[in-house]
Assembly symmetry: D2
């Protein structure tokens, strides 16, 4: 998002800019659902993959709860039960339904949720234009969070749609008009070295960042090298052919237990047909391209691959230091592929941004001195700082204006329905 | 169904009659879905409660599989994957999806399933009119099964819609235009005696019956008495107030374990609000009427109630002997309440037909000499003859022309999402 | 047991006879544990297989609870917590521990349980000799139940020891001194016919019987034939070789689900080694003898075998009518094999008594007019009359003086750790 | 252990010293089992709490596998199946039994395991005295690991005995002769400050350390303060009384889910009787002493307590820096209490060593540059570096000569059967 700059705009102009951004982000969420039927928007095939319409409503609930109810008087909520239905996990707000039962709700139907969105939008615009000067800074701050929150859910919309549609034996495409990924040979992998010593990581400056990217702080690192590009499907197949999923010596103990329990023998969405691998994508089933980055592998698989390759995963600090100078550009959602593409030749680190979220060796922990926000908004990030691993860099379904070098994404080590890939590291 | 009589009609007329019945049964299924949105038709909130659109497609698959593919040449199936998706449990036909994942399928959408139905209907009519005289008897026989099968699923449509909508905190009504049940005081309960000795039970005659109602056979019974009407809500509340759900002495061991595990303390669909009981119905939430028959109780609860009352449940033979002379009339689906109503005064056994399926003390077992049909159709009934209990009499959501005195319904003893109630018996 | 006859003995003599029987039954339980270490007596490897020492204590608790506390004053219980630990399932007596945690109790140790038994024995003898004439009939009645109860647990001791030791990769024998089963060729199977009509089944006369064998009552049966002997291992192997465990058409729906879930492909305790079947027995691992009756098959497997063979299982009434005239003699516990043996030539029905409990097609239900005893003893049988199937005839680990033609044993249809086999029936 | 110093002893003398240490460590394990019956040594009441005799055998298997089979020729293993039974988790050695079924093994009995130990000891002594000079360094190195491994299992013996005996409603004491803990008032808590900057942590020098303590490496830290003593029972009760277990705002998301699922409302082993807290200890049930350090709390509880107190947990680096200068002395196993005791007055950090393992905020991860050992011994630590949290400082059941300031213990965040407590930290 191109956040309005408080210093460079007249008050009214600033409010108009906010209104414009708001509407643009909101419109985008609905556009993502255009290729879907109401029924497509209603299903949930795993606890972690919410129905599309639930996402559409939940992000609206967020504005309703943290902005309209807080700062717009009088405001009457759209429906008294929606707060219970569309609260995701904010314990301090009130009760919420079990996550795995979001697909049970045929009502409110898709159309009603669109009406809910319009209702919220209408009042949000009113708030943006009418909030008193005293509360305006608070409104602005929460608006910024709310819009970033909606962008996160836009990414989840796409990853959840992929999982939900993939459970259908018809293997329906989300969109039949997606462009084919360009045919290319991924350049040979080389190693880029970075010096050790004291570095600073974490968010700095005036732009938006989540609380979990702060405070910026010092860390000490040994010199290290980063692979010039992510691991490709072809390289991953070599791991598989070398018995990767059958040899416990490569795996973390919990990873190996997961492999056995879940009967994993390949990344998510891969299907073997007549000795050939194909891959379910948002454009339907496609032949596996060995040059594309491997995608939909869990942390456990990334770790095992690295062990097999005699390398390791980078820490999030190493990743951030390497990424700091790079432009936020690459195969992101706006590229329109909605699928990782083969790396193109280049001297620098390739595909650090976009294509696939990159697993790091770092557990998701608070930075030194971290303080979550007061009240329910403090539940946004802090309470998840246990048992999850950090991923960096964004993917082919992330909005470009949502990312930063300091951005921290996080998932459980067994999860793999995100667009997750592998970049290797080694000690210098 | 008013099945055409082979003897009394000219061949062509007979085929036209079949076509008419076929269309009438088929139309009814679709009419049941009219009050629902496509999303309503897509959800599944428990393994036993299939989505409405799955029912609509499955019954069509039945005609496609057992009639069109068998007797209509050339016939090209509507979609090659539908046989996998809409086979319920016929192991001899091929693979089928796990029952609990029927709600995962947003595609085929409701509209496509309606097209599937039209496709099947068109070809079914062609078959009815064009089948050679040699196969016509077989066609006729399977058509009859197929139509009865569809009627069964019409009943399941209603029971599953009730369960699926009830999981929604909005407690949406299936229909807002259902008539209120008449206010009435249930007549005092009395006991009607029947003599012991040798009786015959099971289906007899030329009308349609399922294989599980045959062969008709002799049994020996002691004299017994049957309660003149089912147990009412008010009577059941007395059981609850006497600690019914807290006193193990009334319960079967497996029943008591279920009470504890499921935290049962009242029938399904009851909700206590401010010390008053209300009840979710197909018309939405209503105050509990103490005069109506208790409904949505499991076999375990029926058994416990009977133990508390110092009575017992009737066997299915006792029930059938008592029901034999009675008209198939009562509060059935066509009455339009879709909910049990209070008994009206009368001398005979009241509400034997309709209102609620009545639990019997009889495990669902083959009758002496029972032989299931050859091939996959033999899986229709026989393979379920274990661990389930027989219920008799139909309910307020059963089609009148689907019932017979010999009709055997069956459910697991813990299940209660059917319209199931209690009629007591005692030794004479 | 040779129960003292009230009519034929002087009062004192009668009491002495009871004391003698009591001590003899009690001694037997402890003798069964002689081949075991204290650790052997302590383990539980499945919820249904209690530790040996738990059995030894539970049967003592039964005497303590239903006799000593009821009729011997003053009586001080051995330990205040034992009633909680050694109550099996009597809800009306008080709390009891989860069945699956009986193996958690290292204390009381085996030696203390033997002291508990001595304590109970001492007081039981005191009660037998000192009970006033007014309560003596009640004492006598409960004594009889208590001794039969202990005999049932002697059988469970052996079946549970077998299961518990079998879980050990060392496959330890319970006894190394068991005699080998005689080598013999099972005689060819023939069918013995029985007439239809009205019969009576159930217990009759003055001897002991459980409440579930009463009341004696009439039933109507069609003529039927019973196989002259149980199915042999060799015959069962033919079923397996014909794809028995891979062909759903032979199986009940719940049975097939169990086969898939449990990965069954042979009876319990069979192990394939180098293309040969061996079988774990109480004497350790032995080569499978094709002439011996097949053993440790569930009801589901018995049913599937019968379907494959084109026959059926007998009902319990058929079995009882056929067994009525036969002597209670055969390969029972006292024979000392503790394993079924091949049938020997003979004209009559062979092996109706002993060798293996024979599956029947009858769900375990109350007989017409059945009334459980008042109070906690009424929980002995009645509350299990759901979801289980009746087995008849006793096995090679049943005490001879514990059986009758009317004896009803019962297990869930998936259970197979009892010595359970198959006798076929067919319509005449 | 006072490890022999290669430089300061003649070769033969050195070997004798090793033999002496070996026998002393081995003897200790057996002494820990003296208060137990064979049955006590056989039970397992949770997957994580192995039977005592399994520990005794497993540590012997370790010597047999990694020393006797590797370096002593000819060596014949004690029993061919033991390697399968007593391998804990070494995938590269061969198969092993499911952890949760260790309590199923009545055989080998306790006595046979003692014989197994003697067999191993006899051959280990032979190896120590006869190993050629070429392999002697390898033998020495593995011997050191084996002895440390056995010491770890001595600690687990005590923690598992506590859990296993606690499941018994008799609440038996492990030892009735344990000394009472001294009555004392814990000194007021104060904060000790430490400077920020670059520090080094990890093992250094010639003494023994596990691979997970290496390599020593630099880290950057902010200045911080450490609490002068662990949180007491009394302080923890204040947290509980303030609704600690009912207020989600204090808890990590996964922690809160655990509280709800497990119905936690107090630390493990606490029991409320008549409004008073008592606590199960290795000496049986005792009144809770508010001055003793709180014990048997999970990471989740420690984190929630810290959030409630407005503080945080220390990182493992902070802990190690603070502990570096301190003597390895305190309430350790050799003190004989086998229970944490109240802190005594003092100026320095109190109870850093002993009493309770102290939760840290650090996930268990490899140190920068960490390389696990080659082969199966590499599975010792490395494969567990995911999903667990580091604890520091040893407890009242840790052997004094087993600890170091760099020692890293680790458990899953929900586990609490170890002697785990809480020391708070805060930013300077």
């Amino acid at each position: 998002m191109n956040i309005p700059n408080a210093a460079s705009a007249l008050p009214d102009e600033q409010r108009s800019q906010w209104a414009e951004i708001y509407l643009s982000v909101r419109r985008c969420s609905e556009e993502l659902c255009v290729p879907l039927s109401a029924e497509d928007c209603s299903i949930q095939t795993a606890p972690e993959a919410s129905p599309s319409k639930w996402h559409l409503a939940h992000v609206s609930w967020f504005f309703e709860t943290f902005l309209l109810k807080a700062y717009l008087a009088p405001y009457r909520e759209f429906h008294p039960v929606f707060s219970h239905i569309f609260n995701s996990y904010y314990e301090q707000i009130g009760t919420f339904r079990p996550r795995e039962q979001r697909g049970f709700l045929s009502r409110p139907g898709f159309e009603e949720i669109i009406r809910y969105r319009s209702h919220v939008d209408e009042h949000m615009l009113k708030l943006v234009h009418s909030a008193g000067e005293d509360v305006w800074p608070h409104v602005q701050q929460r608006l910024e969070i709310g819009l970033n929150h909606e962008q996160q859910h836009q990414e989840l919309l796409l990853t959840d749609i992929k999982l939900n549609l993939s459970a259908n034996p018809l293997r329906p495409a989300y969109r039949n008009d997606l462009p084919a990924t360009p045919k290319a040979i991924a350049p040979a992998l080389h190693w880029q070295a970075f010096p050790g010593g004291i570095h600073e990581i974490g968010h700095q400056g005036s732009g938006f960042a989540y609380d979990n990217e702060t405070p910026r702080h010092r860390i000490y690192l040994n010199a290290f090298c980063l692979a010039s590009r992510p691991v490709t499907n072809g390289e991953y197949v070599a791991f598989m052919q070398d018995g990767g999923y059958d040899r416990p010596e490569f795996w973390l103990s919990d990873g190996w237990a997961t492999v056995k329990r879940q009967h994993w023998s390949n990344p998510l969405y891969w299907e073997a047909t007549d000795g050939e691998w194909s891959q379910y994508t948002l454009g339907g089933l496609r032949m596996l391209d060995p040059e594309e980055p491997v995608c939909h592998v869990s942390y456990y698989e990334a770790e095992a691959y690295a062990a097999w390759a005699g390398k390791r995963l980078p820490t999030e600090a190493e990743w951030e230091i390497a990424a700091r100078g790079l432009a936020i550009a690459g195969n992101l959602r706006d590229s329109g592929y909605l699928h990782p593409t083969a790396a193109l030749p280049g001297d620098s680190l390739l595909q650090m941004v976009g294509d696939v979220w990159e697993h790091t060796a770092s557990p998701y922990q608070p930075y030194p001195g971290f303080r979550p926000a007061a009240g329910a908004l403090g539940e946004y990030n802090g309470k998840f700082m246990c048992n999850q691993m950090v991923l960096r860099g964004g993917s082919c379904v992330t909005a470009a204006d949502h990312l930063r070098a300091s951005y921290r994404n996080f998932f459980y080590p067994h999860e793999r329905w995100q667009f997750q890939g592998i970049r290797l590291a080694e000690d210098a």
